[in-house]
């Protein structure tokens, strides 16, 4: 083993030879002792798996939620369709006419302030009236 420890303390480290051949370390006699990180414990793989699983769970939740909402929508729509049909079939159109007339009457409320004559200055002038 070459001796690198320079005893001469007047020399600086930068002055040390740069291109000296690299020292070959002796080969490990027992290769089994080298630590091998298993695939599942590698950082990147773990992050990837977590992200993937989270997305999968989210997607599943989204699909389940969509399914529930869809079934609700169908449930809500069905009575509406029945109602629409019943307006012309089960519910007599006479009742519908009464309801529409009531709606029209609401629009005819005389207390509504619509189309009132505009409040303007009807006497715009600089000088006083001449007549």
């Amino acid at each position: 083993m070459p001796e690198y420890t320079d005893q001469n303390q007047t020399k600086f480290s930068v002055e040390k030879p740069l291109f000296e051949p690299l020292v070959q370390l002796p080969e490990d006699e027992n290769p089994e002792l080298t630590v091998k990180v298993p695939l599942l414990k590698q950082k990147r793989v773990i992050i990837g798996l977590i992200a993937g699983l989270t997305l999968m769970v989210l997607a599943m939740l989204f699909v389940v939620n969509a399914y529930i909402q869809n079934s609700k929508l169908v449930k809500n729509v069905q009575p509406d369709q029945t109602d629409t049909a019943s307006l012309s079939a089960n519910l007599n159109p006479l009742l519908l006419r009464v309801m529409i007339a009531q709606q029209q009457l609401k629009e005819a409320d005389p207390s509504k302030q619509d189309l009132v004559y505009p409040t303007l200055d009807y006497d715009i002038r600089i000088d006083k009236k001449t007549r």
Partner: protein, 292 residues
Amino acid sequence: MKITNFAITLALVIAFGFLLTRLTQAQEATDSARMTATESAEANPDLVFTKPRQTKEILQLRELYQDQVEKYSSLERQYLISKAQYEKLNTLQSLEEAIQSSREVMLSRTDVLITYFELMRASLDDTEGVELSEKDRLTGNMINYILKLRAHRQDVLNSKIREDITARADEFATLSAPFESTAYQSMALIRIGDIQAVYDKSLIIYKDILQYHVDNPTNLLRQAERDRAYREVNKAIEITQRDLLTIRTQYANQQTMTRSSFSSNLGKALSQAYSGTSQILSFLEELFVELT
């Protein structure tokens, strides 16, 4: 990383598929609703509620009127300031500003009134239940005012000096004298027409309900109930008819109408007719739902 990519792609595909399905469903629902509405409208126009006075022309005029009123308010403020300044300073500069601002506000006032009468004419034209001769008389008056206002506007545009502006102001005082009365008469006619139209409809519905009851007889006990209900409906109809007649008489007796005479004389009678018609419709609903 391959697993991550796969998961993202899968999630995106699912989300896209879901969105597409929902969009299609929404479109189908809208189409179906639209078709139902159109079909029922075509089958019987009485089965569709349409707000009165919502034609394209009326809506456009309303929008224009709002804009013009806003513009007028701003110009009126400027006019009042410049007039006050002229009265205080009495300089040539302040006089010039007062003349210009009064000219501007006079033009704006004319625009507001022209649009108001156009809007009122279109609204009256689109109102049912109005006596035709009265409608024609008021429409004729309003068209006449519009023409006079247009001519007045042109005169104001041509007026450049102080004396001209004063002359236009005097002219306008004479010109605008009958405006308010015509406006309130038209307004009254529209309100009467609206209530009259619903009242007329309620009479037709009542007649149809009576016919329906004839076609669908019931037991004696129920029939006695029906008869008592008919008496009440008839009474309500009679009272409302009387109220509407009173309104028409009051309307005819008023040669000129102002805001205060409109509210004090016609307002009360209109409210009574409105309540009466509302009562008739409530009775009709009850008569159909409870006694059929």
